[in-house]
Symmetry: none
Subunit: 519 residues, 2 copies
């Protein structure tokens, strides 16, 4: 079975993404997770460009990794500088990594117009750097930056750059589509042309500027590459890097090329979510293979078919990557969807019982009013529990009042007062907020946390508002969706009303009750 | 120059996405936008499956489109049913579309295990349906559902399904990767094999389950397809459909295959935003070509290089698709856009005047805070007028107070009190509403209508709320967009604040002032 070398650059190229910035602790956590998954090489940073990265390398040395090797990234030596005196190369040595990835220019335009050195000098810079690191017992991977653009305009020179790296002893040569502009068939063609000239490992490094980084990486493997560089969730500069979470299952499940053990492949969804959290990014629901919508089915025809024959609407079994099928409750769905969903939630509903018929009718009514349970599974679960009389009421509302006041000076002030009863105790709270829903959220949780301390562990993480019937303008029905999270999970709840405060209140109540129900 | 047929299914397949649900008004607005862009066919819905779609088709008939044709989607006839008596086919005819897209099975597994009819019966279902529609003067496109999976397991039968459609008179045959599981090189191979057998237009319809829908669509075109089906921003079931916003520029800019006029291609970024707003989805910053990060450069080396030679780190010029390079230091970006826009509004702004520089700086600040003037041109016009001191103040706010109160019986009551001054007269009004913004809207207009009777002629027609920084939960910044209309026109205004009431207030004030300005 063909085996792939997996090279992760989430910690280096991934952090070039807008909005991602990792602490050394975050990076170390991610290293452990990726090592555990079975990644072969983890690029930790660019010590010569970012002095903060050195702390990472020092602390990473103390990690006991099972399998992965940590690599440091750097450029070829500067023009007219000996490698031994080049700051960037000194930093590579100081990182203590036994494997380093060195990038160099292979596009003549960059050599002439950006570096402003002669074409031959650039080739010397590549050889010297690799030979020097080799002499210091460092294994070198060579990233041929802008290789594909270079090959398009001056194939002869692009090849010479690879040759220089190979002759100097690079252990792997990686073809980079740095600008991310290559089309898949063209890229595969170039790999096929280059492959016979290279007698070391050949790698691929793609960017997603044409939304083709995954396809390009897989096509490169089919054309002969055996080393893949990418990032978890495709994080990276501009439109991102090639997404390992999509490449790995495509190679392994569809082409039978070994990347991870089957047991570890089942952890891919969790790793994707873990890295998203560590990077403080929302994991994309629509992400291939690992997203929460990747195996979500809506609409009666599809749902019936997928329950009969999963392969009828699923390209792989979701369990293979640790994901799961989700049947969405929508206006198009009928009884079988409801029963399947109830089973998933371990709520016993029988096919023709009165309960089932009553709940189905209620759902249809609520969906007609604008509830949208596919987007709010926690509210759906609460609704089933309430209907099955399994629901314990955690508190009673005695009343609330939300005031928003603006005076001549233009300042706006929002305040919520709330009175709740838990068993026989009344709690009356007032809270300011940056808007009416925020004030209400603060007041509700403050009034309950004394009774239920675990509420301190949750917070709201997303908030969406949708107007349902445009014709009525601001008196239209409004749907509020709220996402809450604690240290372990996140959940969505919903409220619908003509009054945005009422809709927000319903979603807030469900958010808190779900936390209390699930612990 | 080779020319591509563009077929958009945002309104049908796109609405299968989790979290997207469009009103008829949303759909009509999107149709106008896509027609204006130059899309050839716009699939409006599935009238036989979703009764709500019929209203769309009735109202769409009244639209005056420049170029696009609206199509209706439906399945082949049921087994043992005459086409003329099939409800689904009746609904297609009732839609009034002169072009219909009919999908049929081409994977034997689906025929046997899902439809449970004989293989021959399915071929008859395809022919009968197409022949019948043709006899009613309807042009038919045939979507061969699951074609690639079918071809993998039983190529002979998959070909027969295409042949049946071709023989019955389909004007185009579309190969569908319904489960989205195909790898690019494999898919291109199949298209090459099928192409010689088809003598009508050959199309491609991809899903993104392997994160390859764009690459697959472009590869299919390179292998001979001349009809592309996809959605704006790749919206669609599970991981989405093929993203037209990535496919169009790849074909046109990189392969020289004509999709849109160059002038219209420049509107692609705006269309992407517009459709995202209409769907109430956040446009992905990292989206290829049209995302706000797609040409954003971070890090000194890249920035310097890109300023010297844009192609050093950009695969295409961002202007081609109406996007822009984003570099933190570029104070001057956007000036020509501002001047163009001012010219459109007949506001005289000179290129290097202090006014221009001041307004540009203000716009950049406001956009940084979350204002989004592409979606609210009325607010933009008011802002220019205010800055040019051409703006007359119609009223002064002395203060308002909005109260929302809920008591034990569960009823929620919203009331706004407002005090305004017009010249020297004070007017104090109180108004109930079905929510705080509605109450405020009522109170504001009631307090002003005595001074400005023409306000009686306007009302609010749409209201959208978007949370800008998801991580902050209910205390996040909120953008409110309000659409207003009178008997002649409609206009959008905007407000941004951490307090939804303040954001709504800003948009309401602009809404009223715009009406007073324009009469």
């Amino acid at each position: 079975m063909r085996k792939m070398v997996l090279y992760d650059t989430t910690l280096r190229d991934g952090t070039q993404a807008e909005g991602i910035s990792l602490t050394v602790n975050d990076k170390l956590r991610i290293v452990k997770k990726l090592d555990d998954l079975g990644i072969d090489y983890i690029e930790g940073g660019w010590p010569g460009s970012n002095p903060k990265d050195m702390e990472f390398f020092i602390r990473a040395k103390r990690l006991k990794l099972k399998h992965a090797k940590i690599t440091a990234f750097g450029s070829t030596r500067r023009a007219r500088t000996k490698p031994s005196q080049d700051m960037n190369i000194k930093a590579l040595l100081k990182s203590g990594c036994s494997v380093c990835t060195v990038f160099g220019k292979s596009w003549d335009l960059h050599v002439k117009d950006i570096l402003k050195v002669s074409l031959n000098e650039n080739l010397d810079m590549i050889s010297d750097t690799i030979s020097y690191l080799k002499s210091r017992k460092i294994k070198v991977f060579f990233d041929a930056e802008h290789f594909f653009d270079g090959y398009k305009y001056n194939p002869d020179y692009a090849n010479k750059a690879l040759q220089a790296a190979q002759d100097a002893g690079a252990e792997a040569i990686i073809l980079c589509d740095t600008n991310g502009g290559m089309l898949t068939c063209e890229l595969a063609d170039v790999v096929l042309q280059v492959k016979p000239r290279i007698n070391v490992s050949l790698g691929i490094h793609c960017h997603n500027d044409s939304e083709m980084a995954v396809a390009n990486s897989v096509a490169a493997v089919m054309a002969g590459c055996d080393h893949i560089q990418g990032t978890i969730n495709g994080y990276g500069e501009r439109c991102g890097n090639a997404n390992l979470c999509s490449i790995i299952p495509s190679l392994q499940v569809k082409l039978g090329i070994k990347c991870l053990s089957s047991a570890k492949l089942k952890e891919l969804t969790e790793v994707s979510y873990y890295v998203a959290e560590a990077c403080n990014m929302k994991q994309l629901d629509t992400q291939a293979f690992v997203g929460s919508s990747a195996f979500a089915h809506k609409g009666g025809v599809h749902v019936n078919a997928v329950l009969k024959k999963p392969q009828s609407y699923e390209h792989i079994e979701p369990q293979i990557v640790g994901n799961k099928r989700r049947i969405l409750i929508s206006e198009l769905s009928g009884k079988s969807t409801l029963l399947t969903k109830a089973r998933e939630l371990h709520i016993g509903l029988r096919k023709n019982s009165d309960h089932t018929i009553k709940i189905l009718k209620l759902l249809q009514d609520m969906e007609y009013q604008g509830y949208h349970f596919e987007a709010a599974e926690a509210s759906f679960e609460l609704l089933l529990n309430r209907q099955m009389k399994k629901h314990k009421k955690f508190f009673e509302l005695e009343g609330f009042r939300v005031i928003n006041e603006k005076d001549e000076d233009g300042c706006l002030y929002s305040e919520a007062r709330i009175k709740v009863r838990v068993k026989k105790k009344i709690k009356h709270t007032v809270c300011e907020g940056q808007g009416p829903i925020d004030a209400l959220d603060g007041a509700l949780r403050e009034s309950l946390v004394g009774f239920y301390p675990k509420l301190a562990d949750m917070h709201l993480s997303d908030f969406k508002v949708r107007v349902l019937d445009e014709k009525a303008g601001t008196a239209a029905k409004v749907r509020v969706l709220i996402q809450s999270q604690d240290s372990e999970k996140s959940w969505w709840t919903i409220g619908v009303s003509e009054n945005i405060i009422e809709a927000g209140w319903q979603a807030l109540v469900d958010s808190v009750e779900y936390k209390l129900l699930k612990g």
